[in-house]
């Protein structure tokens, strides 16, 4: 191949490739390791983990939609202790780069999770999934509330210290994404992950009721790609210096390049891996080829390229 510098950074974390799993779409990496070597991609973003083990929502937990799907998993997971005991050591052993995603029901829970992670070595960054219902405020999703978003990130930042980059993962279901983004960056986020799923619903025409056990679910897949590209573009325009991990419907190298040109420093692949276990590998290869074909010599040159002035 040619001399393309494919590496990227998110805060002070360096990755040899800009390709990541999306949280909740790769479990903790083991299952995909059957299909490719985890070291070959940028990094594994693990499924959002909470303090305690959680059984999640009732089934059905998914519905396919036009070019997308709804999910309502409800953050099923083993809890932080089991996660640290089993999943992190496995990923370290595989020599995978690890981004740990955390989720909480209170501002305090996020900080406590951060405390647990502070001293764990082998982790490259923390993704803070704030698209969770805030039990202290009528179940209003943190990421939909500028003040709660800030407080979560502020708490995590204080606890974790300056070492580990914090990536705040935001929900697109807000009136003013840029102001939420600005708030969490001011509170100490080193980067942003955009976007989490879009709230949706499917009615089952046999039962004539909402199909999902949890009634509503999160829409993901190619259907939401234009929303995700818009979100990344808007936020990058407002804060060009803040690295963005872009996601939402990325299924091939062209999708990935769109996201990078819009302003993403890295991309996460979620739903596409369900349809194709080796999706991340082909996206990575196609993206490389496209960058070379277009004359870029580094990935970095392409980040936010769609924002350059009209004259160029």
């Amino acid at each position: 191949m040619s001399a393309l510098d494919f590496s990227t950074t998110l805060g002070n974390a360096w990755f040899p490739a800009p390709t990541f799993t999306a949280s909740g779409c790769a479990s903790s990496g083991r299952e995909l390791a059957q299909f490719f070597d985890l070291r070959t991609m940028g990094g594994v973003v693990t499924k959002s983990v909470m303090m305690k083990a959680r059984t999640g929502r009732p089934t059905p937990r998914m519905a396919e939609t036009a070019s997308g799907m709804l999910n309502s998993i409800g953050l099923q997971g083993p809890g932080i202790d089991a996660f640290l005991a089993k999943d992190v050591p496995y990923l370290i052993e595989q020599k995978a780069r690890i981004v740990v995603s955390i989720a909480g029901e209170t501002v305090e829970e996020y900080s406590t999770l951060a405390r647990k992670l502070r001293s764990v070595s082998g982790i490259s960054a923390l993704e803070v999934n704030i698209s969770c219902p805030n039990v202290e405020n009528r179940g209003l999703v943190f990421a939909c509330d500028p003040e709660a978003s800030r407080r979560v990130i502020d708490g995590v930042r204080r606890t974790i210290g300056g070492e580990l980059p914090i990536i705040a993962k935001l929900s697109p279901d807000v009136t003013d994404l840029v102001s939420i983004a600005r708030g969490v960056v001011e509170a100490g986020a080193d980067g942003l992950a955009l976007i989490n799923t879009v709230l949706g619903m499917v009615i089952n025409l046999d039962t004539m009721r909402p199909h999902l056990g949890g009634k509503t679910g999160g829409l993901s897949g190619p259907a939401i790609k234009p929303i995700a590209v818009r979100a990344v573009y808007q936020v990058h325009a407002a804060m060009p210096q803040v690295p963005i991990l872009g996601m939402g419907g990325i299924s091939n190298g062209r999708d990935a390049l769109e996201m990078i040109a819009a302003g993403a420093s890295g991309i996460s692949v979620g739903t596409a891996s369900f349809g194709n276990p080796t999706a991340i590998m082909s996206i990575q290869n196609e993206l490389k080829d496209l960058l070379i074909e277009k004359g870029f010599t580094s990935l970095r040159q392409a980040i936010g390229y769609a924002h350059r002035p009209e004259s160029e």
């Binding site: 479990s27 299952e31 499924k47 929502r57 089934t59 937990r61 070019s67 056990g213 369900f274």
Partner: protein
Amino acid sequence: MATLNKNAAQVRAPIVSNKRVGQYHQLIINIGELAGVCKPGNFVAINVGGENSRMVLRRAFAISRVSTNSISGGTMELIVAPHGQGSRWLCSQGEGAMLDIVVPLGSAFGIPTEAVQVLLVGGGYGSAPLFGLAEVLNAKGCRVDMLLGASTASKIYAPMEGKRSVNSLRIYTEDGSMGQSGRVTEPIRALIEDLNIAVIYSCGPMAMLSAIDEITRGTHVVHQCAVEESMACGIGICMTCVLPVADEAGNVSMVRSCIDGPVMDGSFVQWDKVGKTL
């Protein structure tokens, strides 16, 4: 979950034949050497709708049988019910069409170490994997009896060749259009006694599996069932396909049916909690 689909691979595989059988389609697909690692109970995940498809998820189908010495290389057979848009698309694919398949996935039926009496119970297309299983059990020296049920005759899948490995085969239809009239679960209690059954292998609708569990609960009969939950990924990464299952200590957790299943020990499944919040 120990093995984590260690033999699974993603392949492009041609359809060797596609025949209508009652309300189902029998698809023979050339998967080459992978046929050698497929076990009864395993399933496949197939891309549907072609290149410009709006369907983003794979569809799961039980492997009905494999043949490793066929002229066209190793093949596997699927029995597909045209249900929604994805399975209908699959049933409309002709000979030579290339499919994108991940195979083999999931757990397999456990085979007894000694020759025992076993009963195989299939509902609808759930009979598909049972014939392949019967061959294996038969070769082990087990006496294999089989019950098949469906709502109506055209939904009974019971191929001639399949019956070779079976000691007896009884068919039940709810509308009485084939075999005996009634549910396939009705005669089970009596058969367990009469035939001194050690293991029941079952595959079919969840309600059937749950009814069998009720019969075997508290007995010495082992119930190995192949469950069917909606699956988004089929390889253990999405957590959509879960079922409430107890462990040895009695702790119930939501277990992925794609990777810790589809074949499970029915006595551990919490049938009354399926689809409920734990």
